[in-house]
């Protein structure tokens, strides 16, 4: 438990200043991102060797990255595009991060994302001709509720039988994929359409509020981040969620009901992931094809980890990932680097993060010692609660 070398505070230690606190939050994400970018550069250089006859260009990574950056933030359209890509990642990151706070690993964000979008499209199509001020909230609510149900089921199973949420949410992901395919090529399909696609959501679509395609969902995502932060840190509910996540036994001792909180947390987490799907459907695609379903739910896990589950840090983390997606196209055009490099970057970020207890030790070496970098430390850094000590 106690680090062997940390002496008990015999003298009063000054609380850390704002700058060092900011660094303690940002250090790992920043270092991890820089490392991934460097590794990405190395991969690009190596890939040049694989193309016969092509002159070797040391500047290729620079060309590629500058194209990536300008594709993400180079002009107003690019910035709006980044915001649009980031929106579902904010919702999804909040969903996964909120689960982490309660000690739950919601791998099912992807399934909840799909089911949320499904709920939104069903309600949206039904309300397509209803005035927008009524259609939009109802369709969004439908997406939220659908995602919530998809989160509730594994939460309930865990509370009553102890079924581990990692296993049950993965199962629920498969069910969601098949459910979507069945509905879109069956009852929801536009009759006589050659490909499986639903009707358009019409009036239920999010209005554009920014630039060419910056939809309402951007603002909602920002509000959601603030709301989740407020819920976690300013309400008794959030206190209970964090208490159960940090120490279930102590929470029970304190009169909280960990099982109830588990169910509530999974439901809320599912609802947030459902909103991620809703934001894509009502904001971007406006209808659903059987190929709907990106990797948003899984990218959200990386976003939550990068932000160490802090709801406010999730916003910049989502912007980083969204920006990479937005800029990837230009990178491919200008530097002939395939867009999949972005997947590689995101994956390496995730890998470095999982190794972050080790990284943290390196960063702090000499000044302060940290506990052993075992699985406990990894879990602690996932939850983001204990690691600040």
């Amino acid at each position: 438990m106690s680090a062997p070398l940390a002496p008990a505070p015999t003298q009063v230690r000054r609380p850390p200043g704002l700058l060092s606190r900011a660094w303690s939050v940002a250090a790992v994400p920043v270092v991890v991102t820089v490392l991934s970018v460097l590794l990405g550069a190395a991969i690009m250089l190596f890939s040049e060797l694989l193309v016969p006859g092509r002159p070797f260009d040391w500047g290729l990574p620079l060309t590629a990255y500058s194209a990536l950056v300008s594709g993400a933030v180079g002009n107003p359209d690019a910035i709006v595009s980044t915001l649009v890509y980031s929106t579902p990642l904010v919702f999804g990151g909040l969903a996964v991060g909120f689960g982490f706070k309660a000690g739950l690993f919601n791998i099912g964000a992807q399934g909840q994302f799909l089911v949320g979008a499904l709920g939104a499209v069903m309600a949206g199509v039904a309300l397509a001709n209803v005035p927008a001020p009524i259609a939009i909230p109802l369709a969004a609510l439908a997406g939220l509720v659908a995602g919530g149900i998809w989160g509730f089921i594994p939460g309930f199973l865990k509370a009553v039988s102890g079924a581990h949420e990692v296993v049950s949410t993965i199962m629920m992901n498969y069910v969601a994929v098949q459910l979507l395919a069945a509905l879109v090529s069956g009852p929801l399909k536009v009759p006589r359409s050659p490909s499986p696609v639903t009707f358009d959501v019409g009036n239920a679509a999010f209005p554009v509020i920014l630039g060419r395609n910056g939809h309402l969902g951007i603002a909602l995502a920002l509000l959601a981040a603030i709301f989740v932060w407020w819920l976690l840190y300013r309400t008794t509910w959030g206190f209970e969620v964090r208490a159960v996540g940090a120490n279930r036994d102590a929470a029970r001792y304190a009169g909280m009901r960990p099982k109830l909180i588990t169910v509530a947390t999974m439901t809320f987490s599912g609802a947030l992931a459902g909103l991620a799907g809703t934001s894509v459907l009502l904001g971007v695609t406006h209808s659903m094809t059987s190929s709907f379903g990106t990797t948003v739910g899984f990218d959200s896990i990386a976003v939550a980890l990068l932000a160490r589950s802090n709801p406010l840090v999730i916003v910049p983390a989502a912007l980083l990932f969204g920006g990479m997606r937005a800029g990837a196209g230009l990178m491919q055009i200008k530097a002939q680097i395939p867009v999949e490099l972005v997947d590689v970057l995101q994956a390496t970020i995730l890998l470095f993060l999982v190794a972050s207890p080790v990284l943290r030790r390196v960063l702090r070496a000499g000044s302060r010692r940290v506990g052993p970098a075992g699985s406990d430390a990894v879990v602690a850094s996932l939850g983001g609660e204990a690691a600040a000590s």
Partner: protein, 523 residues
């Protein structure tokens, strides 16, 4: 016992002017220490006084900012634990560094393999040496036995053997008796005396006064990173050492005063409960605690005390029997119901139940009342009220912390327990349930907590005190119930109880031919 201090021989170990600073803290401030061959040298100090840091410096785990280390009169620079071991310094940690699934022999060989050739271990030769070493120091050990199946006392012997196998000349034991029964402690002491007689030097770290007086040739007392005194057992006593250690006069035994028991508050009848594995742990307990009295429960740990307490406070559902509070049946009520019925509970394991260590001190102080006014209005928490009351509790309960916002995990054990006590004691109570309230604490904190308990009793609270420390039960209780195999086998008067008599009841349940008959409580 031979006392070789003061001979002309160079000390086996000398530490000169060791200073070690951590950000904001001077953990060691010019500490000097000499240990001669054949000497048992005790290092005494409260938690956080700097004992462990000093030993980490010796073991090469921490580099001193100033000072030097001499072995046999020569200055050495110790690069790390393996270097320390190579120089004959070995440490037996408080938490054993053993692999439970491996045999005794393999544990000892780990890191110091005796090879038959390049590839294979020479277990036969190794086992022969282990058995021989054990015999030399007075115990028979089976190198084939699995470490996980050994008692704690025997595991400690394996740790010591491990050090001896590495030809340790200087043996550092960090609070070796914290996990041992009195009987096992005596046995380990015998081993240590044999080791010293053979010329080994032993550094014995402890904060238990009577132990240090019994085993040590010399005692060095450390407080706040400095050496504040050195004594020989013959020229000191517990009060003197406690005062040195804490820096002021300490009352080692509480003045419990007189109690004025009132009406019964807690009544438990026919209570049965199962442990986490579903085996019966509490097997029909009847007890009664009245307002203004302390009922102590003595017993060897694991005789159902934890389950009894958890059944009373609502953390465990009893399988049979009833619990009533001031005449109301509260069997199976939730922890929150009990809390709201003015029942406070200090759990045995403060890390598991009592605190959420990553949370701030202030949040831990409201852990059971966070949802009530003034700490919340509806679901909105009132941060100002929480901080304000935290600041007040920190002052009144003397919790040493830089601020209410630091995480509870960074506090010392004593201050963590004071945090739990502050939270649980700081209101009107009907019943106070204490499970091992002073386990692992230093004398200063123990004194403080005992006083708070007496004050609560005098304010008319019924107190149920469970402790594996028999002395604590004897000193505090008005009546003592002895728990054995899930039952209260006897209730004796707290003021007239005889330590040996209660100890025997704890060990045997009173069922043997000891001539002791369980006594009924006298009002």
């Amino acid at each position: 016992m031979t006392d070789q201090t003061g001979t002309s021989l160079a000390p086996a170990l000398e530490m000169r002017g060791i200073t070690k600073r951590y950000p904001g803290v001077v953990a060691n401030d010019g500490i000097s220490l000499e240990v001669h061959p054949g000497e048992i040298h005790a290092l005494l100090g409260e938690n956080g006084a700097g004992k462990t840091t000093l030993m980490n410096v010796l073991y090469g785990l921490a580099r001193p900012d100033e000072g030097e280390i001499l072995l046999d009169g020569r200055v050495v620079r110790i690069a790390g634990p393996s270097d320390a071991i190579a120089r004959g310094i070995n440490m037996v940690h408080q938490h054993f560094m053993l692999v439970p699934v491996l045999s005794v022999g393999d544990n000892i060989l780990l890191g110091e393999e005796t090879m038959a050739n390049r590839v294979f271990l020479d277990r036969k030769e190794a086992h022969r040496r282990i058995v021989e070493l054990g015999r030399r120091f007075g115990f028979e050990i089976d190198p084939e036995a699995r470490v996980g199946s050994l008692s704690v006392g025997w595991q400690q012997r394996v740790e010591i053997l491990k050090a001896l196998y590495r030809n340790a000349r200087i043996l550092v034991l960090d609070e070796p008796t914290a996990v041992l029964t009195p009987q096992e402690t005596e046995e380990i002491f015998a081993v240590l005396r044999r080791l010293a007689a053979e010329g080994h030097s032993i550094v014995f770290i402890s904060h238990k006064l009577y132990e240090v007086l019994e085993i040590a040739d010399r005692i060095t007392v450390i407080r706040r990173g400095r050496v504040v005194g050195q004594r020989r057992p013959a020229e000191t006593n517990e009060d003197d050492l406690a005062e040195l250690m804490v820096g002021r006069e300490v009352q080692l035994t509480v003045d419990r005063g007189t109690s004025h028991p009132g009406a019964p508050v807690l009544r438990v009848s026919g209570l049965q409960a199962k442990d986490d594995r579903g085996n019966p742990a509490v097997r029909g307990v009847d007890l009664e605690v009245r307002a203004g009295e302390i009922l102590g429960i003595a017993g060897v740990a694991g005789n159902g005390q934890d389950e009894l307490v958890e059944s009373i406070v609502g953390l465990r559902r009893p399988s049979a029997g009833t619990v009533s509070l001031a005449g109301t049946d509260v069997t199976g009520h939730s922890p929150r119901d009990m809390n709201e019925a003015a029942v406070a509970y200090v759990p045995a394991d403060r890390h598991r139940f009592g605190l959420i260590t990553p949370f701030s001190l202030a949040d831990n102080l409201v852990l059971t009342s966070y949802y009530r006014r003034p700490y919340a209005r509806g679901v909105l928490r009132d941060g100002d009220a929480i901080q304000r009351d935290a600041a007040s509790a920190i002052e009144r309960f003397d919790i040493r912390t830089p601020s209410p916002t630091v995480t509870a995990g960074t506090l010392s054990g004593g201050n963590q327990q004071k945090t739990v006590v502050a939270r649980e004691f700081d209101r009107e109570l009907k019943l106070l349930v204490l499970d091992q309230p002073t386990r692992g604490l230093d004398v200063g904190s123990i004194e403080f907590i005992h006083r708070q308990v007496i004050a609560k009793r005098d304010a008319g609270t019924a107190v149920l005190l469970v402790s594996a420390e028999l002395d604590e039960v004897l000193e505090m209780s008005d009546r003592i119930g002895v728990m054995y195999a899930g039952k209260i086998v006897a209730v004796v008067d707290g003021r007239t109880a005889d330590k040996n008599e209660v100890g025997l009841l704890m060990a045997t349940g009173g069922a043997d031919r000891s001539g002791i008959t369980p006594v009924e409580a006298r009002p």
